[in-house]
């Protein structure tokens, strides 16, 4: 059973531990600006937000050089730094805005589920982010949302 990140905004306190854990895991320092997970502040609601590793994988198919591939152990769509040329087409192709360009490296960054041990979920003090069996998440709202943005094929071979 694949696992996925289950996010419960009701529990989030906007402490940013997830963003720090993510940037530490991936960049080796504390830098929310480079975090793959982003927490949005709506004053009365805080929403952690990252890639859901959606089945459609717009980023992956838009990539001209096959730099994004599926990690079969986790289902994560993973960017290969060696292959990425920094063309940024995935950053506009992903309708969720969860692939972002990193000016310092000239490549893109996105959530890769930390190879199966997401640092954000481990760091979150409130349980707002949990890494659980995909079925459990009842297929997140965000994935339902994915259906709406889909260019159409979801209905055909779902």
């Amino acid at each position: 059973m694949l696992k996925s990140l289950h996010i419960d905004p009701g529990k989030c306190t906007l402490c940013m531990q997830c963003e720090m854990a993510c940037s530490y895991e991936n960049e080796g320092l504390f830098n929310p600006a480079k975090s793959r997970i982003k927490v949005f502040d709506f004053h009365d609601r805080f929403v952690p937000y990252t890639c859901t590793q959606c089945a459609e994988a717009w980023c992956m198919s838009a990539c001209p050089v096959d730099a994004i591939s599926v990690d079969h152990a986790t289902g994560a769509k993973v960017v290969s730094d060696d292959l990425c040329v920094g063309c940024k087409v995935c950053t506009i192709a992903c309708p969720f805005g969860t692939v972002n360009y990193n000016h310092d490296t000239g490549k893109v960054i996105k959530c890769d589920l930390c190879g199966g041990q997401p640092a954000c979920a481990e760091a979150c003090p409130t349980g707002a982010i949990a890494y659980v069996d995909s079925d459990w998440t009842g297929y997140d709202k965000m994935r339902r949302w994915a259906g709406k943005t889909d260019s159409g094929a979801a209905q055909a071979h779902a």
């Binding site: 306190t13 402490c15 720090m20 530490y24 504390f30 830098n31 409130t126």
Partner: protein
């Protein structure tokens, strides 16, 4: 590391910004934030300087743990000579601004001089620039926040600003960051206003490094576990916030009420944490929407509130209907008990206004309390107050004064003086519940003896956060002492003061110390900073900082005579509750305190002390 080792020096008179290396020798002696910036202040600012003159400087300082994954590691402090107190001022704030400043690559920003016209400071990573702020002058903190983000196309920008209060010389104006977190006390916002500096707008994308990541992460993870397991930091504060104290302190008989005439407030229950969670009859919603953390904080004591839309204060003003920073205990007490107002929604509204226009709700509320007493005595009349019936318990009076004071208009100008200057002006200085010009917070020195000594000796004027003996005297942390007994409190106060000075220099929040001792904190600092940091070293550093601040104040002209409490606490016994019949025993505690501190009977650090602490 832990430090970025860079200081931004901004000269407003010249409009220049320059980067300089952090003095690492001092960093090893004073760590960061409060201690380190105070060291700079002592070096660079004449203690006799007029706080509102261009010669005063401001230090916006982070600590080595600011911007790291350490729980609560997001604090910054503003150090300057305080407008309200004429003493050293150090106001500490959470939110996200401090971490952003660190992420931009700066340990500290030093602001010198005075701009000819309103300006703001823009910091985008390494780049810093003094820019005209004519379009922001006259705007509230909230408006400034939105305008700057929009103008710079940076929704992620963090802003620390003064509101109208700081512009118009409210002596206890504060500096508000992230809309409702404040470097609140001692009038640091008035100093900022006097420099024509409206705001600091920061975007930092460089990240923060620590000395030894694996070691640091291990210490940080252990620390978070301790916070989560502790009843206060793991449950009490997230659920109830600091407001959890309202009923507790009232029952202790130490909730100063109506300008300290009483020590218990009959309306306490109606303005307590419990009341904030209760559903209102009008709209079926609770005042409290949820809790919010500051940067990195795994406690999350912050309150987000929503006001009753039908309440008279906001009925026609949708601007205040949205979720905003709600009442913390000190604010609820000052706006409520100190004025005798038991209307939760009115307090919430007044608190919004304090955030919106940037003023310290503690001093504002207590000044209104003092003015109410003057009004009841007939010293103040509706002629002076601009028609306001300034009676204890009047929510209308409180909120009206919050409006005019925030805007710097009418009688608000007088309330903006603070209780000391106001009561002096009207010939009753004894009615100012303050030490060194700064008003008391929410604990009565008669019902809690140790806190009285802490107020009297606090280097920034009356303050609970300089030595929070409440932890021991009420909550039993680290061990329970009897609040009504003064014996042994001198040592307790000193221990709290020194430890707190260390915590305030690290980038951490002092609320962690409900659960953490310096033994929990030292390994985190040691992971972040080179130099070998132990609890003992931190404690000694805390003492060094305390003495350094003390010497600044002595050089500024303060003497042992200023280490005192208003007559009311020393002479008028508590009327009700467990402390009934008691006054504060300052006379007994103070000499012992001086001795423990290694100070002369005149309150001056002796040569041995100065040498021992390598000052």
């Amino acid at each position: 590391m832990g430090w970025t080792r860079k200081v931004l020096r901004v000269n407003l008179s010249k409009g220049t910004c320059a980067s300089e290396p952090l003095n690492m020798e001092w960093a090893q002696k004073y760590l960061g934030q409060r201690g380190l910036a105070s060291r700079y202040l002592v070096e660079e600012v004449n203690p006799k300087v007029d706080p509102l003159s261009p010669d005063n400087k401001m230090f916006f300082a982070t600590g080595p743990l600011t911007g790291t994954a350490a729980s609560t590691g997001g604090r910054y402090s503003v150090i300057t000579k305080g407008a309200l107190t004429n003493a050293i001022a150090c106001s500490n704030s959470g939110g996200y601004f401090g971490a952003e400043l660190k992420m931009a690559g700066w340990d500290m920003v030093i602001v010198e001089g005075k701009a000819k016209k309103p300006v703001y400071l823009l910091i985008q990573d390494d780049k810093a620039e003094v820019r005209p702020a004519d379009h922001l002058w006259g705007k509230s903190v909230w408006e400034t926040d939105a305008l700057l983000k929009s103008e710079h196309h940076e929704p992620q920008m963090r802003i620390s600003a003064i509101g109208r209060a700081g512009e118009s010389g409210v002596m206890y104006a504060c500096i508000v960051n992230d809309l409702h977190r404040a470097a609140g006390r001692s009038g640091v916002g008035a100093v900022m206003g006097s420099k024509n500096l409206k705001a600091l707008a920061v975007r930092g994308t460089q990240g923060v490094k620590v000395h030894d990541f694996p070691k640091f992460m291990q210490a940080v993870t252990a620390g978070k576990k301790v916070l989560a397991a502790n009843a206060v930091t793991g449950q009490g504060l997230p659920a109830y916030g600091t407001q959890v104290l309202m009923n507790v302190i009232n029952e202790t008989g130490a909730l100063p009420t109506r300008n300290h005439r009483d020590v218990q407030f009959e309306g306490a229950g109606r303005i307590s944490a419990e009341a904030m969670r209760e559903k209102r009859v009008t709209d079926g919603k609770a005042n409290l929407v949820r809790n919010q953390a500051c940067f990195g904080c795994t406690i999350a004591c912050g309150r987000i509130s929503q006001i009753d839309k039908t309440h008279f204060t906001v009925a026609n003003n949708p601007k205040y209907w949205g979720a905003q920073g709600g009442l913390e205990y000190e604010a609820a007490w000052a706006l409520g008990a100190a004025t005798g107002v038991a209307d939760l929604e009115a307090l919430t509204y007044a608190n919004y206004l304090c955030n919106e226009q940037g003023m310290d709700p503690i001093t504002f509320g207590t000044t209104v309390g003092a003015a109410m007493e003057l009004f009841e005595m007939g010293v103040l009349t509706t002629k002076e107050t601009g028609g306001v019936e300034l009676k204890f318990g009047s929510a209308e009076a409180l909120t009206k004064l919050a409006e005019v004071t925030g805007m710097g208009e009418g009688f608000g100008k007088e309330i903006g003086l603070g209780s000391k200057r106001l009561t002096e002006k009207y010939g009753h200085p004894e009615l100012s519940m303050s030490v060194k010009g700064q008003e008391f917070p929410a604990y009565d020195g008669r019902g809690i003896q140790g806190i009285g000594l802490a107020y009297a000796t606090s280097n920034r004027g009356a303050c609970h956060l300089r030595g929070y003996t409440i932890a021991s005297e009420i909550l039993g942390i680290p061990e329970k002492t009897d609040p009504l007994v003064s014996a042994g409190k001198a040592g307790l106060v000193k221990a709290f003061q020194d430890a707190t000075a260390a915590v305030d220099s690290s980038g951490l929040c002092v609320f962690t110390t409900f659960a953490w001792t310096l033994d929990d904190i030292a390994p985190q600092i040691d992971g972040a900073c080179e130099g070998g940091w132990t609890a003992a070293r931190l404690l000694e550093m805390g003492e060094r900082i305390w003495n350094m601040e003390r010497r600044f104040n002595l050089d500024a002209g303060f003497t042992a005579k200023d280490d005192t409490l208003p007559k009311r606490l020393l002479k008028e016994a508590a009327k009700t509750g467990p402390a009934k019949g008691k006054v504060n025993d300052l006379g007994k505690m103070l000499p012992e305190y001086y001795k423990l501190r290694g100070w002369s009977p005149e309150g001056v650090p002796t040569n041995e002390t100065v040498t021992r602490l390598a000052l």
